[in-house]
């Protein structure tokens, strides 16, 4: 008799579960609306804030790994930029993951950078956050902002030397070739730089030197053309006209190519960074 009742119970529970599975999930897509504010979670956590942050973080990871939801990015910034930081402002992993979800998946670079900015305010000694922000801005084409983030990252304790290279690259992309050149030169001359860094710096300086020269020459040619109604017959004519002090020579010691008919300046030097 007890066995019959037991089996009856098991069977009933199993069929109930099957029924529930057929009906499916009653939860609405808006369930995140009910995720409480970090401040309230902090009250509830009673001195276990960091653990609560972990739990929210772990939950968020599982939640955002579910690709079925259409509006799943609605609360990312709230979760990673508000709830978790309220609980554990030093949780760098959470800022970085939140920023990655926002920029890579939600394509919302501004929001991603906002999350990282918040993380930087709470963790002024951490280089990872501005470093990541630098790359996110870089990939989004915000080179000046990217250069600023890299500069900030490089100034933090323990920041790897590679950040300075990234910074110089971003500065170059932003269009400030002389500043970029100066940064590479600094790296090149720094006795602390390793062989790889120095090698990279040398190549970049070479490229930048060529690009700076070409830019100078192009501008001078343009000014000459405006003033005289024709391009100069040779680059040396620019010196005589007072547009440039002297005719530059490329890093290989060769003069730059010039086509007097079109007024185009060129270089025979090797591959030039970022110049298609």
């Amino acid at each position: 008799m007890p066995l019959v009742l037991f089996l009856l119970g098991v069977a009933g529970a199993a069929s109930g579960l099957r029924g529930l599975q057929r009906i499916g999930d009653l939860r609405t897509a808006d369930e995140l609306l009910y995720l409480p504010n970090g401040r309230y979670l902090r009250i509830v956590s009673l001195g276990h804030r960091a653990l609560m942050a972990d739990l929210v973080y772990l939950w968020a990871i599982q939640y955002y790994s579910n690709y079925d939801r259409a509006d799943r990015f609605r609360y990312v910034e709230h979760v990673f930029g508000n709830v978790i930081p309220e609980l554990d402002p030093h949780y760098v992993d959470a800022y970085t993951l939140g920023a990655l979800i926002l920029t890579v998946e939600a394509k919302d670079v501004d929001a991603g950078l906002r999350v990282l900015d918040k993380g930087m305010r709470d963790n002024p000694d951490d280089y990872l956050l501005p470093y990541l922000a630098g790359w996110e801005a870089y990939h989004a084409g915000l080179y000046e902002r990217s250069a600023r983030y890299f500069a900030e990252a490089a100034s933090k304790p323990g920041a790897p030397a590679v950040i300075l290279r990234n910074r110089a690259g971003a500065v170059a992309r932003a269009g400030d070739l002389r500043e970029a050149y100066a940064l590479w030169r600094e790296l090149y001359l720094d006795p602390g730089s390793d062989a790889v860094t120095r090698g990279v710096a040398e190549r970049r300086m070479r490229d930048l030197a060529v690009r700076i020269d070409l830019e100078t020459l192009e501008r001078a040619v343009e000014r000459f053309r405006t003033r005289n109604g024709r391009p100069p017959r040779a680059l040396s004519e620019l010196v005589r006209a007072g547009e440039i002090r002297e005719v530059p020579i490329d890093p290989d010691g060769r003069p730059y190519a010039y086509d007097p008919s079109s007024g185009k300046v060129g270089s025979t030097a090797g591959r030039i960074l970022g110049n298609p």
Binding site: I43, G47, H48, L51, Q62, H90, Y91, V92, D93, T96
Partner: protein
């Protein structure tokens, strides 16, 4: 042989009775299955943090540390509350206190001895749980030295909670005592809210009341550096010192009140 011949009653040292009671209390706890149940649960939690940490993106060590430290704290508080409120009550309920206090034991020695015994049990618990956590972290190659201040302050917090459990149980039954102690723990972690409240109440008496409550109620958040140490942030030596002084002194004051209340009590 006559009574007068052997009557040379020793005056036992004040600490002798406290020590004997503490040792007996420790013995009681380590022979009680409840303790092992709690300890087993805590160790299970610590070990399972390893599993939970696999779900994360990023630093798994952080999750292990958070869950480990919180387990030490939570199970310590559970021990403090549930063993703490029952220790004194059990002695009265089972009438063992009659024979005990019929001996040359002052009542405060009884309370202090019981407290010291439980403090010893808690120390053992914290050390065991910490050892499990440390072993887990070392196996992963994590650093553990930074965790020490947090564990020390967890222990101080446990002493404070235990003192409150003793205070409540010196006059109330175990259920009321447990509720009172848990309420104190909750308030102790929310006492910062009085600062928020202060800005919203009118000037004068209400604000003074907020200040008084903020200063007088135990501020357990001051003893919580878990969220710092898991990020490998150092806890300054002076902070550790002052926080420990705060917690231990507060516990001492509460225990004194518990002794005074107990001193006036009748045992029916």
């Amino acid at each position: 042989m006559t009574a007068t011949a052997e009557a040379a009653p020793r005056r036992p040292r004040v600490t002798a009775a406290v020590g004997a009671i503490a040792l007996n209390t420790f013995r009681e706890a380590v022979r009680d299955r409840i303790l092992y149940l709690l300890l087993a649960f805590a160790l299970l939690m610590i070990v399972s943090s390893r599993v939970l940490s696999m779900l994360t993106v990023g630093d798994e060590g952080k999750i292990i540390k958070d869950l480990g430290l919180s387990s030490i704290s939570i199970f310590g508080v559970l021990t403090s509350v549930f063993v703490g409120v029952s220790l004194v009550f059990k002695e009265i309920d089972k009438r063992t206190v009659y024979t005990l206090l019929a001996n040359p034991v002052r009542r405060w020695q009884f309370v202090v001895g019981k407290f010291a015994g439980l403090a010893l049990v808690l120390l053992m618990n914290v050390v065991l749980m910490s050892a499990a956590l440390v072993a887990l972290l070392l196996a992963r190659g994590d650093t553990v030295l930074r965790l020490v201040p947090a564990i020390v302050l967890i222990y101080v917090e446990l002493l404070l909670v235990t003192a409150f459990a003793f205070l409540f149980s010196s006059f109330a039954n175990p259920i009321l005592s447990a509720i009172g102690t848990v309420a104190t723990y909750v308030v102790g972690h929310l006492s910062w809210s009085f600062e928020l409240l202060k800005d919203r109440v009118p000037e004068g008496a209400p604000r003074v009341l907020c200040d008084v409550l903020h200063a007088a109620l135990p501020n357990l958040d001051r003893l919580d550096v878990k969220a710092r140490v898991v990020h490998d942030l150092a806890v300054p030596g002076p902070f550790l010192g002052w926080a420990a002084l705060y917690g231990v002194s507060y516990a001492l004051a509460v225990l004194v009140v518990a002794c005074v209340v107990f001193e006036r009590r009748d045992f029916n």
